[in-house]
Structures are given as C-alpha cells and as structure tokens.
Amino acid sequence: MKVGVLALQGAFAAHLGALEQVGASAVEVRTESQLADVDRLIVPGGESTTISMMLERSALVEPLRAFVRSGRPVFGTCAGAILLSSRIVGGRSDQLCFGALPLSASRNAFGRQRESFEADLAVRGLDDGDFHAVFIRAPRLEVIEPDPPGVDRPTVEVLAEIDGSPALVRSGAVMCATFHPELGGDTRVHSMFCEM
C-alpha cells in the first residue's frame, strides 16, 4: 500500500514523517502521474486558498475529483478538510471544494493565530487515552444535508468534537480532521487512516 501526501503547499513533510512512523510507504504528490500511483491520499493543512489555486494550476482538479470518486481512502486535515467539504464559509469566491463529505467548513472560525490552541480530545475508536490535538487557525465543521437531498450517501460518523462541533469525522472512505494529527508525535490517527 502506497500513501500519497498532496505536497503542493503546507504540512506535507510532517505527514510523511508520521506515515513513516506507522510503517506506511509514503510519497509526495505534486503531479497527476504521482497521484495515479498511490492507493490513498492525505490532503494536508496549509493555506486552503493557495492549495486550491495550485490544484488548478497543476492540472490536478479533475484527477483529484476522480480519485475521491474512485473510493480510494482520502484524509483531509485542516485546510485539507476544507477542500474535501461541500461548502466553504469565509473563503474566497473562487476557492474549490470537492464535496467528498456533506460538510460545511467555516474558515478560521476559532480566530487568528493568537487563538490557536492545543487540547485533549476523546476520540471514538482510540481506547488508550485522549488524543492531544493541535488546532491552528482551525476551521469549524458542520454536517449538512447532502446536495441534492435524498442522495443515498453513507452517514457521517463524528469521532471527536471540539466546542460541540465535529473535530474528526469519517464517512465511507473519507476522513476529515480540523486539527493536526501530524504535529505532536501521536500517530494513532494516522494508523486509523491507514487501516481504513
């Protein structure tokens, strides 16, 4: 199994390090051919506006849509979660989202860097203690009705919450986190993704 980390911009190096620690074979993805070569994909944190533009300029929009549609596992963290959601609040009008999950993502909803924080989260499925999570200019997620309504989609399972909003969700082959499991040295969420 080969795990790709979208490396257009952001915390891709930290994800590669975490994947290496859990024994996964991990590679950087910057081109269509590199994307075609991986079995699952992490869309990392970074600036969602920049990553969105670089997907367009690197001719990766349709290949990424096809990747998500193919059912191969995808994990978006922070900016990555924004990109995988269905609606963006507080973004640029030209900003892309891939609608992998019926989520609305509000950018920078917890405030500026001054308000960025660490917190211990109880994560469903991780029985051996809380997960120490790092939230950086984090988005707030909300589960919304699938569009169009009535479409038969797997339900969104909320695995962890922060201030009553989803912090880690999973549905089918897609996982999204508003925090940064690649920072802080706890690799259990990466293991969870690799075992999905």
């Binding site: 915390a11 930290a14 600036e47 506006t49 533009m53 670089m54 960025s116 660490e118 790092v134």
Partner: protein
C-alpha cells in the same frame, strides 16, 4: 495573554476544553509548518495584499515601505501604522505578519494586540537595542527572526523564535547573500551530524549557541524550527534555488512589487516554489514576466541590513 473567542469559553464543563492551551511552542511552530512550500509576500497596501492572495501567497508581510524603498529613503524605519495593518487584515483571509524592530518588545506587544499572526523581528527596520533581541518566550504570538549563520539561528531559537529565515540582503534583488546564509546554516547542520559527542561542546562554543540545541541538531539533522529563505529573491528561479538549497518556504519582499508587472511574477514565484525541482515547469513559469526589479550589486551597497542583530 491571548483572549479566548466567546465560542471557546462557552464550551461545556468537562468537555474537550479542559487543558486547552494557547501560545505553546507546538502551536507557534505549527503555523510555520502550515506555511511550508509557500511564498510570503511583502505588501504595503490592502490592494497589494489582494494581488498577493490572488497570486497564491500563503501569507503577507504588512509593512509601510518595501526594503528597496527603506534603502533609498534612509532615516529610521519603524513598525507600521496599525491602521495600515488592520486594512490589510480586512483585505485578505490568509495570515498577516508584520515587522517589529530588533529589541523593540513594545512594538511586538502592539502587533500581538492587533492580532497579527506572526511577528518578524527584522533587521530591515532600524534596530532599537544594540545588545538584546526580544524575549520571545513572553508572547503568545509566534516570532520569525533572520539569521546569517547557524549560531545566530540557534541564539534566536533560544530566545523563543519559532521560524528562522535567512537574512539575505533585503531590497537588493540580489540573491547572493541569501544563498550564502542558507549554505552556511545547512552546511554546519550537516557537519554537526558527523561530529562525535565531545566535538559537540566545541561546536556550541564556536557557534556561541546553547549546547542542548546543538545536541538536538546532531540527533535530528535539522533545525528545531522551520527554515525559510528571505532577502533579495526576485525571480521564480531564485525561489526554486532557495528551495533546492534546503529552504522550506520563501519570503519575497521588493522583488514582486518593484518589478514591472507584479501579478504574473507573483503567480510564477508561487508555482516555482511548489514545483521547485521540476525544471520543465520552471522554464514554463519563467517565460515573459517582464522586467524584474533592477537590483543592486553588493559592492554598491551603502548599508548592509544583514549585519544588524547579534
């Protein structure tokens, strides 16, 4: 101290807010992680900030004059007017950084109060203290500092800096100093990884840097915080050069808004920073960008900014 947004303080008792901490090293260095592979652009107006965001900048540095103008105008260069910084914060959704003078901790306090996302304790402004840098541990907002060599970088990290950038020679459009600083930092890191435990004491002495940081480098083979490049970058090729030499992101100051046509140049530099090893892509994005900033040779400089800071 950081103020908590109301939503955070209203969370249910015993919920995940227990043990919540702001301004930790992990949180401060974490934002630097998020900026990797990106371009941070100097801007002096909200309009320029929008051009930078449209081009794909990961952050903007709000300042009153770009370094090239600071050089030409002379006089004392200071922190920007809060009105200007707030105007830029309103204009864009990406992080906004701003510069404080070396040692001017009150300028830094003001920038923190404004909600700036990163403070650059910068040699481009006139130093306020000839012996002391800011005690950066005392702040919730993270700091980036310039360095010309590894010793300087480690001294700044020991003072609490969460991101190091090369100083280069800002406002010259000449990349030679940034290359010198990057090579000096990464070269010494490589040599330290080859040193035995006794030699690490000598390295700490020679670098005038704390021993534990030198030992950490020996173990990990990298700087404890992200290493970015700044100072004199003017073309997509300059950005890719910095990245291939080991920088993890780049700052572009005068190089964009002192060029003939800023917007396409800014876009091209963003693409070159992402695809920095792909020569075909670099050839494609380098085409037809118009005149870069004129630039200055090092022998023609009246004043070097890189000598500021200690």
């Amino acid at each position: 101290m950081a103020e908590s947004p109301s939503s955070a303080s209203e969370a249910s008792a015993g919920g995940p807010t227990a043990g919540r901490e702001t301004g930790t090293q992990l949180v401060k260095r974490g934002l630097a992680e998020m900026l990797k592979g990106g371009v941070i652009m100097d801007v002096v107006t909200p309009e320029q900030a929008r051009v930078a965001e449209d081009a794909g900048a990961v952050a903007v540095m709000a300042l009153e004059r770009v370094p090239a103008d600071i050089r030409t105008d002379g006089g004392v260069a200071r922190m920007s007017d809060p009105i200007m910084i707030e105007g830029i914060q309103e204009a864009v959704t990406i992080p906004v950084m701003a510069k404080a003078r070396i040692g001017h901790f009150v300028e830094a306090q003001i920038l923190e109060a404004l909600g700036v996302d990163y403070v650059d304790e910068s040699e481009v402004l006139s130093p306020a203290d000839e012996a002391h840098h800011i005690d950066k541990w005392a702040f919730t907002v993270p700091f980036v500092c310039g360095a010309t060599n590894l010793g300087e970088a480690l001294r700044r990290i020991s003072e609490g800096a969460c991101m190091i950038r090369s100083k280069g020679e800002a406002g010259t459009g000449n990349v030679i100093e940034a290359v010198r600083h990057l090579r000096s930092i990464t070269g010494d890191i490589r040599r330290i990884t080859q040193a035995d435990s006794a030699e690490l004491f000598e390295w700490a002495k020679r670098l005038q840097a704390p021993l534990p940081l030198v030992q950490e480098i020996a173990e990990t083979g990298s700087l404890p915080v992200p290493l970015f490049c700044a100072g004199g970058l003017a073309t997509p090729a300059d950005a890719a050069l910095a990245m291939q030499l080991g920088a993890e992101a780049v700052f572009v100051g005068s190089g964009i808004f002192k060029s003939a046509d800023p917007s396409p140049r800014a876009k091209a530099i963003v693409e070159a920073t992402t695809h920095f090893r792909d020569a075909d892509m670099l050839a494609k994005v380098s085409r037809g960008l118009g005149a870069p900033m004129t630039g200055i040779g090092m022998d023609d400089l009246d004043q070097t900014f890189a000598d500021r800071g200690w």
